[in-house]
Structures are given as C-alpha cells and as structure tokens.
C-alpha cells in the first residue's frame, strides 16, 4: 500500500493556511462581484444584489480546503482555520464594504458555520480527485441559479401590547410622541443599532407626512395612508435613512397601529411592519429582522402604554 506524502514543514503549513484564507476570500469576492453583475441584470430595479450568504461562504470554505488538502487537516484544525478565515472575511468586509458592527454581528454566525461546513466538506471531498472538476462549475451554477431564480421575499412582523386604558386614551399617543425617556433594553440597541426615539405628525388625515426619528439622527419619512380615529393608523415608509447596514439588504414598506377595544376599559395595541428582504438565506435573515422589528415595536408600544396608562 502506498504511503501518504509527508506533511509540510511548519513554515509551509502556515503559508498554505494563509494562502487558503486569502485565495478563499479572493474567490468569494469574485463570486460576489459576478453575482452582483448577474443580479443587476436579473433585477434591474434593485440597487445592490448580494449573492446567497450561505452559498458563497460554503464555496470559500471549499476553496480553502482545496488549498489546505496537502496538510491533511483533522476536524479541529479545519474548524480553527475556518474561524481565522471568517475573521479575515469580516475584516475585509468592514474595510471594503464599510459593514458596521451590527451587520458583522448578524452575519458572523452564518459566515463561520458556512465556511466551516465548506471546509469540512472539502476536507472530505478533495481526498479523492474525482470530484474536484465537478464542484467548481456546480458552485458557480448554484450561485448564479439562486440569483436568477430568486423571488422577492416579503414578510410582516406583528406584535401586541395590552394597555389598561380605552382606545380614546391610547389614540393620541399613537399619532405622535415626544422623546421616549426609557433607556433601550434590546442588546443590539446597546451596540449601536438605531432605536426609535420620537415621532412627529404633520396632520391627522390620510396623506399627511409623518417622521419616525431614531437614535443617531436616522429618520424614516412616512405618509399616512389610512386614518381611522381610535381604530387604525397605517403609513407608508417613503424614505429610509441612507444607512449602509440597510441599503440593499432590507426595505421596510409600511407600518400600522391597530387599536382593538377589549370592552373592559382596556385596549390591545397591535403594531405591524411590512418589509422586503434582499439577502439570503431568507430564513436566517428573517429571524434577525423579526427580532429587530419586534424590539422597535415594543419600545414604541410600551411607550404608548406608559403614556396612555398615566393619563388622568
């Protein structure tokens, strides 16, 4: 039986690990640029098209595994070097794409797990040379196919708060409110994610302008589209702040407050936000989006509750 070739010296080992990380990132960048180009062609209306953030890192992990192949890495080493690769990718993304802390936090688990999955798969697949030639075009087809076939993803986040006051006492505080005094209580708010601070209202009629102000000076410009006193306020979000963490990733379209009279002197306040998600895998980013919108809803709705219940 033939003996496997000897393992490289430590300097070669480190060189190959670094080469794997750098080439994987280069390939990831090229695939993203190619995906962006394909995506623009397939969806001309959208400004920024990001290829699947599952497929691209898996491909990166496989590229790294192919370069690391002579090192015959075990599971532990593959995981560790995948972590280094993830850190390098995040560093590049922060430098080149100016991704902020929040984006990095949201993306990191998926990025690491996908790169590690790619590296572990590559570690197995590339032991034999049979699959090597098939995997590269398959991955390119997968990225391009996903972009070309990608449909729009819309969803809505719904939250409820029960308020010990009738709808007539709740309604004025839904229309507009001054600065929310409560400190933010959601962990991402503490790390810099903008949180709602106040709302202004230019008039009590459909078509009136409205603005929701967030910390850090971010403002969402809105237009009231449905005005049913003490029952429903619906508004379209016509302009979002030009935040790089939002652009091309997420569009919030519409918001709504619905007041349900419980008939016992209390009101159920329902908050809804409709949005479109432009990043994939949708299930992963949907989870984060729901968490964040929920925190935004509850901050506003709990403030409305406080004001309504404090009213004489």
């Amino acid at each position: 039986m033939s003996q496997p070739p000897p393992l490289p010296r430590s300097s070669e080992y480190i060189g190959r690990i670094l080469a794997g990380i750098i080439v994987a990132n280069l390939v990831g960048g090229i695939v993203c640029a190619f995906g962006y180009w394909i995506g623009r062609a397939a969806n001309p209306g959208n400004e920024i098209i990001v290829p699947s953030l599952l497929l691209v890192p898996v491909a990166m992990g496989m590229v790294a595994a192919w370069i690391w192949k002579p090192l015959r890495l075990g599971m532990g080493a593959a995981l560790l070097h995948s972590l280094f690769c993830t850190v390098f990718t995040i560093f590049v993304a922060a430098l080149v794409f100016r991704e902020g802390v929040i984006c990095v936090i949201i993306l990191s688990p998926l990025l690491y797990a996908s790169i590690a999955a790619g590296a572990l798969l590559g570690r197995i697949w590339f032991r034999t040379d049979r699959l090597n030639l098939l995997i590269a075009p398959a991955l390119v087809f997968a990225v391009v196919g996903e972009l070309s076939l990608r449909g729009s993803h819309h969803s809505v986040v719904v939250d409820e708060v029960r308020i010990a006051a009738p709808p007539s006492a709740v309604w004025p505080h839904v229309l507009a409110f001054d600065r929310i005094p409560a400190a933010p209580d959601y962990w991402l708010f503490h790390l810099g994610l903008p949180y709602p601070t106040s709302t202004t209202n230019a008039g009590n009629f459909a078509g009136a302008a409205r603005a929701c102000e967030f910390s850090g000076g971010a403002v969402f410009d809105e237009t009231i589209v449905e005005f049913a006193p003490e029952r429903k306020l619906t508004f379209d979000i016509i302009k979002m702040p030009p935040d790089p963490e939002l652009m091309g990733h997420l569009d919030a379209h519409r918001g709504q407050f619905e007041l349900r009279d419980n008939g016992d002197g209390t009101t159920t306040l329902v908050g809804r936000t409709w949005y479109s998600l432009h990043v994939r895998p949708a299930a992963y980013f949907d989870w984060w989006t729901h968490q964040i919108f929920r925190a935004v809803h509850l901050r506003v709705m709990n403030n409305v509750k406080r004001l309504a219940e404090a009213a004489p």
Binding site: L54, L55, L110, L120, I124, R127
Partner: protein, 154 residues
C-alpha cells in the same frame, strides 16, 4: 437537546441544500468548545477509521462525517458525537439487546444502530461497532451466499 429537536420537529430542514452540513458544522464547533472530551473522542474515532483498509471518508447527506467502504457508507458521526453504524440485521438486534448500542435515533429498529460517543471511555466500544460495520459492508460483495439473517434491514 437541540439536535433531537431538529431531528424530530424540523426534518424538512435536512432537505434544504447544505443546511444539514452548516448545522453539523455548528454542532461540531459547539462540541469542540464545550465538550472537549467528546470532541477528542470524535477525532480519535475518525483517525482510527481512516486506518482501516479500503475505508474512505464521505459526506453524510444529513450532516456529519461519513465512513464508506468501496463507496458505500457504513457509518457516520454527527458533530455532537452521535455515531450511527450499519450492521447486519441480526448483529444490530444483538448489539441493541446487549446494550452495546441503541436503536437508530431516527429509523428505530433497523440495520442501523446509534451509539453516543461522550468521552475516551466510549472509544473502544465505538471502534468495535465500526469494525463490525466495516466487515458487514464488505461481506455482501465477498459472500454472495449470505443467509437471510445476514441481510440488511432498511
């Protein structure tokens, strides 16, 4: 616990391309960070299996590292240390009856058995099952007159 929940309630998840592999990479990372003994045992078992003649690594379709003999998978190990081995039906029944293995965590009573690898003490028993699985995987090709009791179930 999370693994059991996903297997039981989120089985559709396994049909999303690459999702099981990503999930298993996370499981393996968790094991490497917080269950070091299990992780060391997984690595030792993998290292042993790679020394068996004719055995190669393969990617298990539901996530994890598979072990194949002549291209046919006879065992796989998940990132949390759950080892599944395919034996002859009779051997699988005997292994479960003697307490050396459990019925398969998804298939139930079948040719597949499950074994929890939690630390160094579990390695000898795991290796025995793997040797048995490897023999079983080789046998049909070598012995075409295998009796019914030497067949695989499911």
């Amino acid at each position: 616990m999370i693994f059991a929940f996903v297997v039981r309630h989120l089985r559709w998840f396994a049909h999303i391309p690459l999702a099981p592999q990503v999930f298993d990479a996370l499981l393996l990372t968790w094991t490497a960070l917080f269950r070091r003994q299990t992780f060391a045992a997984i690595m030792e078992v993998e290292a042993f299996v790679r020394t068996l003649p004719g055995v190669s690594l393969c990617a298990h379709r539901f996530g994890g590292t598979g072990f194949a003999c002549d291209g046919r998978e006879f065992a796989h190990i998940h990132g949390n240390g759950l080892l599944d081995v395919r034996l002859f039906a009779e051997e699988a029944r005997a292994a479960v009856a003697s307490g050396r293995a459990n019925v398969h965590h998804v298939l139930g009573a079948s040719s597949w058995v499950s074994f929890w690898l939690r630390g160094a003490n579990d390695i000898p028993a795991a290796l025995e099952l793997l040797k048995q699985g490897n023999c079983a995987a080789r046998q049909p090709a070598q012995d075409s007159n295998a009796t019914k009791s030497r067949e695989f179930l499911r």
